[in-house]
């Protein structure tokens, strides 16, 4: 069973690294708030299934970074649906 990781910390916060280290291959990572800055970071390699909240991406002008990183944007309704269908959730 996969885990849904919800990360809202900026890449310069220690919890950002802690979260990435805890994500395993079939887990899903959702970046919100300042965590979306991780999409632009040269020092970060994001997991295969990474998503970023659209409104936070737009706020920080990171649309190009999303495309380059291989992550996908989701809206808040999709995020809510995802949390409803996932049994295990970790909020970082």
């Amino acid at each position: 069973m996969y885990t849904l990781h919800l990360l809202n910390k900026s890449p310069d916060h220690p919890r950002f690294e802690a979260c990435l280290a805890a994500v395993s291959a079939d887990d899903v990572l959702v970046l919100t708030e300042n965590a979306v800055l991780g999409l632009a970071c040269v020092n970060e390699t994001l997991p295969l299934k990474s998503y970023a909240l659209e409104s936070d991406v737009k706020a920080r002008a990171l649309q190009d970074a999303v495309a380059a990183s291989g992550a996908k944007t989701i809206d808040s309704a999709t995020l809510v649906a995802l949390t409803e269908t996932t049994h295990r959730i970790m909020s970082w």
Binding site: D12, L37, A40, V42, S55, K58, A59, R60
Partner: protein, 115 residues
Amino acid sequence: MNVLIVIDRAPYGDWSGRESLDMAFSLAAFDKPVALLFRGAGINWLRHGQLPEDIGQKSGERNLAAAPIFGVSDLLADQQAASDYRLTLDQLLPAASLVEVRPELYRQYDHVISL
């Protein structure tokens, strides 16, 4: 007295960046020489094209664009931070300039402040 205010935290996360801006604008209002330096995640204040309406916030980029009008002398972007966050000069707001952050940079100021 020559003041440098350092912003090293990302926009839209906490209030320290806005408080730093307030401080810079207040010094500029009284014609005190003041510059802003953006380091670390703070570099993202300068990224061009921010649209924070959907998260209910005012654009940090647009607020900052008023800095030269108010008399803030420089918006300095740490080169290292810019490359860490994949930012090139053309992706920064036009008033910003890239600098290498070395001890000599800080020594140009009488007072260096980080909130």
